[in-house]
Subunit: 216 residues, 4 copies
DNA sequence: AATGAATGAGCATTCATTCAT
DNA sequence: AATGAATGAATGCTCATTCAT
């Protein structure tokens, strides 16, 4: 038995604060992957540990409980994204410029970032974590929507775009992103080829621009 | 064997069969509610039983396991919806007529039917049930999308609508439905006022019609 | 594996309220034995279950947690004893008669009843359960002491006994009982021959009677 | 080997040894406090470490395991007391003189020394440590009791005291000490005012003297 | 058919102990 | 020597499932 233990690869110790932060982040991403695949309840702490190459006990040096880890993971990833998104649509001269930026940015978010996973996790465990949902919705969703709304409203007042209701239009601009995220989850689940997100969004951009009267 | 039995017994059994089906349906809806709120793993068989006013043991007379109940519930509700949706967009003379019908129908689905719950459940436990997802996607989503696609394609060929890619456009027409469903879940979770789905879809209809060059 | 299960002796089901009460009492006594031997923290729920011939899960049908079982066990046994002790020293004509009754009763309590175990358990886990201790002390110890005190005080006023302080004397009358209990624990632990409790208490009786001026 | 080293280093080591012993003693007392409050199983090594202001790891430089620490603690404190008690009742001219000394000594032991804590600890974890109990009982309890027994027996033979059985009487003389210790634990646990040990023992002394026919 | 008592595999969490730093 | 990060065996408790009544 001891010889088996000797074969085990022992994790390097995280001594400095920086190393500890890195370890925490590593756990948080491993946790997100598990939560994404299994949901909160069905995720085993041991599986998260294995994914990190650490032991169950070590997890508890960094997070006091599964719930705490879940909340940390959501917050960590959500807040990280929130910053990116916030800075996205400032400094533009016209609605078109702003939306161009947005439409260029979105595919990367869907394809490369952990945001789709986070969204799936939040949808799945929404009812167990109303507070997390509330915070997330206020800090991310509402923020993004109101930014877009403001841009549209200003454009409408300047006669740049032809719209009815800026707030609703903002939601409709964002809707295909949610659609793409959900599609992504379902495709991955049934192991079918993924949606061509960029092409879909290109088409979406066209439709929106046409409807809003924006010309290239 | 049934022909050997007398009529009275047959009828009794026939009634029994009906009652059995009713009981099964009752369980299936109770289960959907629980799965919607808690997810598959966190849902207790006992809670479903309580919701039906029956005992744990009785549940197992109708469904052999939680997984079987889950699959039955999803299938039962999904197939029920599928029929409705299938009959939706036939018998129309123009794209506009077909889409009018669709846009009239959708809000009811989101507000009154169990479909949003089902979608939430499917998203949440997608990875545990790739087969369920596959079946559901093929029988419902792909069906709906291809119906819309065909309508659009035909309209395009007749010069009724001005579109690029009928299949993508179909997805974009459906996207806000998913958005509305997700929003509904998040609102219910954080106990915030719901989205005015009908108004959103009215606006969506406007944008789509404008982009497609459909005039009232 | 299933053949092994078939060999397992299944516990008869406790259906009626009476059977359930009996099962509860059975658990309580098994628990007392374990708590006595190991202390609260070191006692495994599984060991209690094994002692009863039931499964771990069944324990939780009757008691919601180890702590609850502990408290129930203490209360159940303590209250049972309290009643006996209460009725002990009423209806007597003289101090001598009352003390005679007491000294006749005590050895049985030490030798045959679960009280010594209970006392050991209470001492051991006193700091974790201040409330249990408080209740127990008020309902049993203080009760007993005050009953003896009243008897002595009345005897003193009638000139029957020659004492200084009735309350302190009461404590000193009881002291060897505690001594015997502690001795019993230590003897059992080191597996040495037990103290002859009855002889010790006979001697104690003599000393007390001599000191109090009670003549046979 | 030590003779090979120079004086300075030797002295340094000598000091180290003393410091080591002091550290050990410090740990032992911290451990006793924890064991007294929580019991062996529920005491965390870390809490002992914190109480000493050292780290968990350092504890293991001095004691190889919790069990070893427990045994060391009990032994260290018990043996220390044993010496005091041994020297207590020698050099006396009469039973009265010997008992006077005893009764003067006891209250200090109960109030100021770690002995009550030790007794509580020994009672609590008796069954896990039969050997410790055996050693302790032989070296302390039996020693004390036999010393008192010898004194009483000699007094009886000299006609100083009027007793039946010297060994039993010795136990009865000691009984209130155990009573006081147990009472102390229960009072501390329920946070109620402590027993006036000295007054109780004064009364006890009176009763014993009266019963034994010892006059002031 | 219906019930709910009984079961035990499964998992979150704790903490004595080890050992790299 | 001292530290405290890492480990994993141990254990309280849950709940899907079974089955006697």
């Amino acid at each position: 038995m001891s010889s088996l233990n000797n074969l085990a690869i022992k994790m390097k110790r995280a001594i400095s604060e920086i190393e500890k932060e890195q370890r925490k982040e590593q756990i948080v991403f491993a946790a997100l992957d598990e939560f994404y695949l299994k949901g909160l309840k069905a995720t085993k702490m041991e599986d998260i540990a294995i994914r990190c190459g650490i032991s169950k006990g070590t997890l508890y040096l960094y997070f006091s409980s599964k719930k705490a880890l879940f909340e940390s993971a959501v917050e960590h990833i959500a807040m990280h994204k929130a910053q990116q998104i916030q800075s996205l649509m400032t400094n533009h001269n016209s609605v078109k410029e702003a939306l161009d930026q947005l439409f260029e940015f979105i595919p990367n978010v869907i394809i490369d970032s952990p945001l789709p996973k986070l969204i799936k996790v939040l949808i799945s465990d929404a009812f167990d974590f109303p507070d997390v949902i509330k915070t997330y919705k206020q800090n991310i969703i509402d923020q993004v929507l109101s930014t877009i709304t403001i841009v549209l409203q200003a454009g409408k007042e300047r006669g740049e775009v032809n719209i009815d209701d800026a707030a609703l239009t903002a939601k409709l601009i964002v809707a295909p992103v949610i659609f793409a995220v959900v599609w992504k989850v379902l495709s991955e689940a049934e192991n079918s080829p993924p949606l061509a997100v960029d092409v879909l969004l290109k088409q979406h951009q066209l439709i929106i621009y046409k409807a809003l009267g924006i010309t290239e």
